[in-house]
């Protein structure tokens, strides 16, 4: 993967190499209390604790620990022990003996407590920093269905998944990414369903990442993707454990990145970005209708304004006569050609959206009023735009928000501008040229080497049950083909 080489080359300057080598030589030396202590100088939040009854030391970051548990379970008992008792106590299983400085330091920064006693080092995991409690995800809301969402702790996130999939086949492997940040990445998959090749490939890609730190799943996606330059995201991220579990059962791989409330599912297909858990919680007819609505809104987002531009610039003959005069009249006062007019309005809508996203909710409402009423009304009254364009732009903006994935919705809103420009220069044929290029690009995209536009291309008719429609559960007896699952049968219909 060329992209990983790119990362590597950028990060590894010669100086850094040298520094790292020195550090390494020290780190791998035999365990030394002073060395460890020196490593944490200038860390105000670092704690060192001594005990009166014995010679042991405890080193830890109080901010990373579950302090209450630590006091109750460990400190209280240790303070009463003498050296001999403590030695036996530390030999217990939940204490891990470490022999190198590096391991000790890594353990402490990861939220363990390091003990030193008579030149030997031990670690006990006490990780439990304060974090957000489990709340509903704000970007992926549903009306019915579970309301818990992932939080910024990978451990909690994994527990949310394991709570739902109670099987020993749910495997969870840990990897560490980030030279400085040492973020944990958990690989979750279901053995006997997920395809080994996909897991291997994903591991290879994660191993190949050499960067200073990764804090967020969507950043991570962009490093792992097959085509990082594409506008379209190739891995789906979700903040909902129920979605993550359904992906697992479909044979997909879930990557939970520490400190990100989103998990990555791989491989993903284009149509998955249009699916919402609500489709599955509703009756299938309703779920299917809503999903169709979303695909229609996708088309509206991309083409509505472009068609307006195309019709007013080139193809006046396709406008129905009842609409023709009002349209021409409202265009009459506008000083720009349709393409500029449309781009201006689209730009304004994007401004509103961006401003609304950046501002606190209470101020955000003001933006709605200022934008919606003042600009909308005044722009038409001042002859800045035609009122029909306002309808087109507003409809396509609303339609773009129907798409459940915010990332995908952003991609689609962006390519819309391309379509508007093409329509303004070449009319309908320009729009079709745009569709041709985008469609071909989508067709050749892959998500960990699996086709992105599945099941449309390569065509797998069986998988269409869960694309534009959501078939009833009795009909969806097989897992989709994209993840190349080992076990295809999902439901066995009992006689």
């Amino acid at each position: 993967m060329s992209i990983f080489d790119f990362w590597r080359n950028k990060k590894k300057t010669k100086e850094e190499d040298k520094e790292q080598k020195e550090k390494k030589s020290q780190d791998s030396e035999s365990l030394s209390f002073h060395h460890v202590l020196n490593n944490f100088d200038n860390c105000a939040d670092f704690n060192k604790r001594t005990f009166t009854s014995n010679d042991g030391f405890a080193l830890f970051f109080a901010s990373l620990l579950n302090t209450e548990e630590f006091e109750r379970d460990v400190i209280r008992s240790i303070t009463k022990m003498d050296n001999h008792q403590l030695r036996e106590y530390l030999a217990q299983e939940h204490f891990e003996e470490v022999t190198t400085n590096k391991d000790m330091i890594l353990g402490i920064v990861a939220g363990s407590v390091g003990f030193f006693l008579e030149g030997k080092g031990y670690l006990i995991e006490m990780y439990g920093p304060e974090g957000r409690s489990i709340e509903e995800s704000e970007t992926e809301t549903v009306i019915t269905g579970p309301h818990d969402g992932f939080v910024e702790s990978a451990g909690k996130n994994v527990s949310l998944i394991r709570k739902r999939v109670r099987s020993s086949h749910l495997k969870c492997e840990k990897m560490v990414v980030g030279e400085v940040s040492k973020s944990e990445v958990y690989f979750l998959y279901i053995k006997d369903i997920a395809n080994d090749q996909i897991i291997e490939e994903m591991k290879r890609r994660v191993e190949n990442i050499e960067t200073d730190g990764v804090f967020e799943a969507n950043t991570f996606v962009q490093i792992l993707e097959d085509s990082p330059n594409s506008v379209f995201p190739q891995f789906q991220t979700t903040e909902r454990p129920d979605v993550a579990c359904s992906k697992l059962l479909a044979g997909k791989l879930i990557l939970a990145v520490d400190s990100s409330p989103a998990v990555i599912s791989a491989p993903s297909s284009f149509v998955e970005f249009f699916q919402s858990p609500d489709d599955y919680y509703n009756r299938w007819v309703i779920g299917s209708s809503i999903r169709l609505l979303r695909f229609v809104s996708f088309i509206i987002t991309i083409l509505f304004t472009a068609l307006y531009v195309s019709a007013t610039t080139f193809h006046y003959e396709i406008i129905p006569d009842q609409l023709l005069i009002p349209l021409a009249e409202s265009r009459k006062a506008v000083p720009f050609p349709p393409i500029i007019e449309a781009l201006l309005m689209e730009f304004t809508i994007e401004l509103l959206r961006e401003a609304g996203a950046r501002l606190p909710t209470k101020v955000g409402q003001t933006i709605g009023i200022v934008g919606g009423i003042v600009i909308g009304q005044a722009a038409v009254a001042a002859g800045f735009t035609s009122d029909i364009l306002i309808i087109a732009v507003a409809t396509s903006a609303i339609a773009s928000f129907v798409i459940p994935s915010y990332i995908m919705s952003g991609s689609i809103r962006l390519i819309r501008f391309g379509f508007i420009i093409l329509a303004g220069i070449l009319g309908n044929i320009g729009i079709v040229i745009g569709i041709t290029v985008v469609a071909f690009h989508l067709a050749t995209l892959t998500s960990i080497n699996k086709p992105y536009l599945t099941p449309i291309t390569p065509l797998i008719l069986k998988d269409f049950k869960d694309v534009f429609l959501r078939a009833p559960y009795w009909a969806m007896t097989e897992r989709p083909n994209q993840a190349d699952v080992k076990n295809k049968i999902r439901t066995k219909v009992k006689e």
Binding site: F314, P320, T436, A439, F440, I456, L461
Partner: protein, 365 residues
């Protein structure tokens, strides 16, 4: 990791349909009326069935070749002096045919809404898109074709809207009556079905578990159904004499269609045919590239594609008027049809001979 896409037979069925159906579709009803007279649409299924024989032969050859390149086989039995002219002829025919199909399409687009826009702009765009598709390889081409199929197939439903004005009286009970020219007409139909012959070149890229014969046959039958259906509707929608007078009956039919938001959807729907044209053009360019690669073995593949695409773009400057384009299309589709018959038979002969030779070698042992 296996990065190859798993295609299924249906993908190649779609490819066949997309290769076969082209702009001839828009003139087909008139051609049928001109050459077969009243109820000329009936000739389409008849000729299609005759053509099926050739398609099965082609499929058989593809199967016999066991996914090896047909050109490698020719390389083995023919000396350079003999095979190079043949290769250049093949590549030339296919490349020019592809080019002329594109020119034909844009000539209609120009007539409909861009009478003052120079054609080279459209041809340039086509060249860029074709290059974009070709460099992504055969796999990308097939994947793209499937998507384009879905993006164009809905246009067929617009022909249901005109059914309200369909009159059985207009069909008349006469069959193939009037001024007829069966030979010319048959050729026009064959021209409309052309494109499947490229499977000979494609076969070495297709997975072994795919039944090529089945894929081409199904695709061909689907094309036949579409052609027959639309031509049938045109025969009932227009009166016979009217049909003879209309250059592009299907466009005219769509001109009459009105949907709630749009009037006269002919322009929009015809624009969507760009995708079919793109598929046809890239397929012919791909075939030309494959052949030329046998001559210029050491050349970079992308460079070769660039040369073909640019060459054809420049060639497009010589095809500007409707008459010129029609002449070129006629000549080169005749040649391509000839190739589609001769090439499979020739390959069959080669394979038979090489088989005999190996048998002889065995006998000596």
């Amino acid at each position: 990791m296996n990065t190859k896409t798993n295609f299924s037979t249906i993908d190649f069925t779609i490819l066949t349909y997309m290769l076969q159906s082209g702009i001839t579709f828009f003139v087909l009803p008139r051609l049928m009326a001109e050459n077969f007279g009243y109820n000329g649409w009936l000739a389409i299924p008849v000729i299609s069935i005759v053509l099926l024989g050739q398609i099965i032969l082609l499929g058989h050859v593809c199967k016999k070749m066991k996914r090896t390149s047909p050109l490698d086989r020719i390389d083995k039995v023919m000396p350079k002096v003999l095979r190079y002219p043949i290769y250049i002829f093949l590549a030339g025919t296919w490349a020019v045919l592809g080019c002329s199909v594109g020119a034909n399409y844009f000539q209609i687009i120009q007539m409909m809404s861009f009478p003052n826009t120079p054609q080279y702009i459209f041809k340039g765009i086509l060249a860029v898109i074709a290059f974009f598709i070709l460099v992504s390889g055969f796999e990308g081409f097939v994947k793209g074709t499937t998507v384009f199929f879905f993006l164009t197939i809905w246009t067929l439903f617009s022909s249901f809207v005109v059914l309200k004005d369909f009159q059985f009286d207009q069909l008349t009970p006469f069959i193939f009556a009037g001024d007829t020219n069966f030979i010319n007409g048959s050729f026009e139909v064959l021209k409309a079905f052309l494109g499947f012959e490229l499977f000979i070149i494609f076969s070495s890229y297709i997975q072994k578990d795919i039944n090529i014969t089945k894929a081409i046959t199904l695709g061909h039958l689907f094309t036949t159904v579409v052609y027959t259906f639309v031509t049938f509707i045109a025969f009932g929608f227009f009166s016979f004499q009217q049909l003879l007078d209309i250059e592009y009956p299907v466009i005219q039919m769509l001109d009459y269609v009105k949907v709630p938001f749009l009037e006269r959807i002919d322009n929009l729907i015809f624009s969507f045919f760009l995708m079919k044209v793109v598929v046809t053009v890239t397929a012919y360019y791909w075939a030309a590239k494959e052949v030329l690669q046998q001559i210029f073995i050491n050349i970079n593949e992308s460079l070769l594609i660039f040369i073909i695409v640019t060459g054809n773009f420049l060639l497009g400057f010589m095809m500007e008027t409707a008459r010129e384009i029609e002449t070129v299309v006629n000549i080169f589709s005749k040649l391509a049809f000839g190739i589609s018959i001769v090439l499979p038979i020739f390959l069959l002969l080669i394979m038979k001979r090489s088989k005999n030779q190996t048998n002889e070698v065995k006998d000596h042992d």
